[in-house]
């Protein structure tokens, strides 16, 4: 008899199951007293669990389900607990219907959940079918006013906690905006590019700085410059974050370094030319650079647009802060001949050199990579 047992094991290859393992689907929508919900439970699972197939023909009819609705409800509700603010809520089941999902028929159990104190945190403990089938999962979705939260509950992780502040859109917004500010402040290449354009702002090739010139030319230059840069990088940041356009990161980083060289050379040789076109065209590339950081942050897909917007706002705020810090200093320094005669050429050479060094460093990586 030993051989007969062994033949069980002689499979040709482990099978690839297209068949989905067992799941139940519980949707909860908040109300004033607690939740309303629908719980879909597969008849294929209920069958063996409570012996739905009374006549033993291995077929479950609507009659077999209908006559045992209260038993089904008791069985299921005995394996689900919902609590609000630490105290248990009361769950009532309504009249059951049937739904055909892609893998078979499910009973649909309407739920009304009432909580005495309907306050955060809400918790849900789930244990349906876990004693019978270790691979069963309870797929829970809370459908609040904002993006739905989902949980896949398993025997090892059978509790879902929904706390009000867990991922509120406001908090998410603040987090992303902070990331944006942080990125422009630690991104020396962006700051250097911006400074190289800002330093000569308001200067015309007048031999001597005019004491009487007011803030007007300076502010006008800065405003067009910052606007051009902002519009440009917002465009490409959005395009890249929404995965509509993508460029190799090395190409982006090298071009950003080259933009610093160009900005530096302009300080030295073409101060009189308006900087807006440089700010705009290279701003496009800087936008791709921001998008790379955004990609590393692993955005929640549900709120991509919001996160993108928040990150961009953060970048603008960070940029404004830099401009506001730099402006009075520039304005003050421009009164002295030293600024235009000595400081500017030195700064120009310095910035361009740094740009060249970065270009080589980043570009070299590009060539090795190829």
């Amino acid at each position: 008899m030993r051989f007969a047992v062994l033949t069980l094991l002689l499979l040709l290859a482990p099978q690839v199951y297209a068949h989905k393992p067992s799941d139940s689907y519980l949707q909860l929508t908040p109300t004033d007293e607690g939740f309303t919900g629908e719980w879909r439970i597969a008849l294929r699972d209920l069958g063996p669990a409570i012996g739905l197939d009374r006549d033993g023909d291995r077929k479950i009819t609507w009659g077999e389900v209908r006559t045992r609705h209260s038993e089904i409800a008791n069985y299921a509700l005995g394996r689900l607990a919902i609590a609000a603010g630490g105290s248990p809520c009361h769950i009532r089941a309504g009249a059951q219907l049937v739904d055909e999902l892609s893998d078979g028929a499910y009973t649909v159990l309407p739920l009304a959940v009432t909580c005495e104190r309907n306050v955060a945190p809400w918790s849900l403990d789930y244990s349906l079918f876990f004693d019978m089938d270790a691979t069963h999962r309870g797929l829970i979705s809370f459908r609040g006013s904002d993006t739905p939260q989902t949980f896949a509950l398993s025997p090892d992780n059978n509790r879902a906690v929904l706390s009000a502040g867990a991922a509120s859109p406001v908090q998410q917004f603040v987090t992303m905006a902070r990331e944006g500010v942080w990125h422009i402040w630690i991104g020396f290449d962006h700051i250097l590019f911006l400074l190289a354009l800002l330093l000569p702002a308001g200067l015309r090739l007048t031999r001597a700085p005019d004491e009487k010139t007011g803030w007007t030319p300076l502010l006008k230059d800065v405003l067009t410059l910052v606007t051009a840069f902002t519009v440009a990088h917002s465009i490409t940041l959005s395009l890249a974050a929404l995965k509509l356009v993508s460029l190799p990161p090395r190409l982006i980083e090298t071009t950003i370094a080259l933009s610093i060289v160009v900005a530096g050379l302009r300080m030295r040789y073409a101060v009189s030319r308006p900087a807006a076109w440089i700010a705009f065209s290279f701003g496009l590339i800087h936008g791709f650079g921001f998008a790379n950081v955004l990609a590393d942050l692993q955005l929640p897909t549900g709120s991509l647009a919001l996160s993108l917007f928040a990150f961009n706002i953060g970048v603008e705020l960070g940029q404004c802060a830099i401009v506001l810090l730099a402006l009075p200093l520039i304005r003050y320094a421009q009164r002295h001949t030293f600024y235009q005669r000595t400081f500017m050429p030195v700064a120009a050479v310095l910035i361009a050199t740094i740009g060249v060094a970065w270009s080589i460093e980043r570009g070299a990586g590009l060539y090795f990579a190829l």
Binding site: F3, A4, L6, T7, L8, L9, L10, L11, L12, A13, P14, Q15, V16, Y17, A18, H19, K20, P21, S22, D23, E38, L43, R44, D45, G47, P48, A49, G51, L52, D53, G56, R58, K59, I60, T61, W62, G63, V65, R66, L97, V98, D99, E100, L101, S102, D103, G104, A105, V108, F130, D131, M132, D133, A134, T135, H136, R137, L139, T150, A152
Partner: protein
């Protein structure tokens, strides 16, 4: 995408929007419309379930009865293709499931559950442990040989097959040896040896007979001997009651021979075998059948539902779904390559190569081509396609 817009419609022009709305509703996938309903009568059959009741408290909990129950569940999983049975088996073994030093029978069953779930590393760890505990355990050797073979470690698989020689009846050893060596450039020889052994054996246990016929069918298919393969499939199907694995390999064989009507018939006869859904969807697409869209949609929803569980693993079937039904070649290539990391059967190689060619990234299949050439794998389905794959550059 929206079907309806809010623009105001002048009185004489309401026919067009109405027609558009009608088309929109008609085009909605069947399941998107589905909503909870009340069946028309008590006699409506809603589901098919296994016989009997199972609850955690049902049945004795001693090692012997638990092992018997879990083995039965694993056999049911294999026959039906329903992974719920693996969950049942795992639950039955719960008291020992996380114990590294579980009793030997538990370790062997746990390894098989891991194997079915494609957790090959965990399965091999258990089997290595089992072989240490009992070097002459044929079950441990057989399961390990099957895993090594699926992973393309043919030398290790052959070693395990060889060690069976004195432990089990000769036909089992021959099946194991031929199955593995047919992947190493001696397919014809392997076929001949197994066929001779089969003809000499009488009174074969039916499931054993089925396995041997499937091995012979598989080797013949790879050698391009279609009529011979067909004969072996017929014998495999006749040997026992239907089982999921035989049905799905046979359906794949029929698809490759463009016998689409037979694939659809197979699915209609056995609608409960979920693995046939993909094959039926492919066949109905190939013949432009009216239900092609509906079958594809059901498949799409099943994969989407599976992905929501959080434990979805890209399989070669999923890669085929992406490539041949969704037309997403580069996503299919990603899935096929992910699957290739753990599974290296000829069918796994085939889907990588097909997806790489379709995605116009033939170089992505270079490691697969190197594997096929290096092992001397013979397969008439692969050989012509491999000409389009550049050889791997040394790095």
């Amino acid at each position: 995408m929206t079907c309806f817009n809010n623009s105001t419609v002048s009185p004489g022009r309401h026919l067009l929007p109405a027609a558009l709305a009608f088309v929109c509703i008609a085009l909605l996938p069947r399941h998107a419309q589905a909503a909870p309903y009340r069946p028309a009568s008590d006699a409506v059959v809603l589901a098919t379930v296994p016989a009997g009741t199972r609850t955690a408290t049902a049945g004795p909990r001693d090692l012997q009865s638990v092992v018997a129950r879990a083995s039965e569940d694993i056999e049911s999983a294999r026959a039906s293709g329903d992974p719920r049975y693996l969950g049942y088996a795992q639950s039955a073994l719960a008291p020992w499931w996380n114990l590294k030093d579980a009793p030997l029978p538990v370790i062997l069953l746990r390894a098989q559950i891991h194997q079915h779930n494609h957790s090959f590393e965990a399965a091999l760890a258990d089997l290595d442990h089992a072989v240490v505990l009992d070097p002459r355990n044929p079950q441990a050797r057989l399961t390990r040989a099957a895993i090594h073979q699926v992973q393309g470690n043919y030398a290790a698989a052959i070693a395990d097959c060889r060690s069976l020689a004195l432990l089990v009846e000769p036909l089992i050893t021959a099946d194991c040896m031929s199955r593995v060596s047919s992947h190493r450039g001696v397919a014809r020889d392997a076929y001949r040896k197994l066929l001779a052994m089969r003809d000499r054996s009488d009174g074969m246990e039916p499931r054993q007979h089925r396995e041997v016929e499937l091995t012979l069918a598989d080797i013949s298919t790879r050698l391009g001997e279609i009529d011979t393969a067909r004969r072996h499939y017929d014998q495999a199907l006749a040997a026992t009651d239907v089982d999921a694995y035989t049905l799905l390999t046979f359906a794949d064989f029929l698809l490759e021979q463009r016998e689409y009507r037979q694939v659809v018939e197979l699915f209609e006869r056995h609608p409960d075998y979920a693995d046939l859904l993909l094959r039926a969807a492919l066949a109905s697409r190939a013949t432009d059948a009216g239900n092609a869209g509906q079958l594809s949609q059901r498949l799409r929803e099943q994969y989407a539902a599976h992905q929501r569980r959080g434990d979805f693993v890209a399989s070669r079937d999923y890669a085929r779904f992406l490539l041949d039904i969704e037309g997403k070649a580069s996503a299919a290539l990603d899935a096929a390559l992910a699957n290739w990391k753990s599974q290296r059967e000829p069918a796994d190689a085939l889907i990588v190569v097909r997806a790489a060619i379709a995605a116009r990234q033939p170089a992505a299949a270079a490691p697969v081509a190197a594997f096929v050439r290096g092992r001397g794998l013979e397969d008439v389905r692969l050989t012509p396609l491999l000409k389009q794959i550049p050889s791997e550059r040394r790095t």
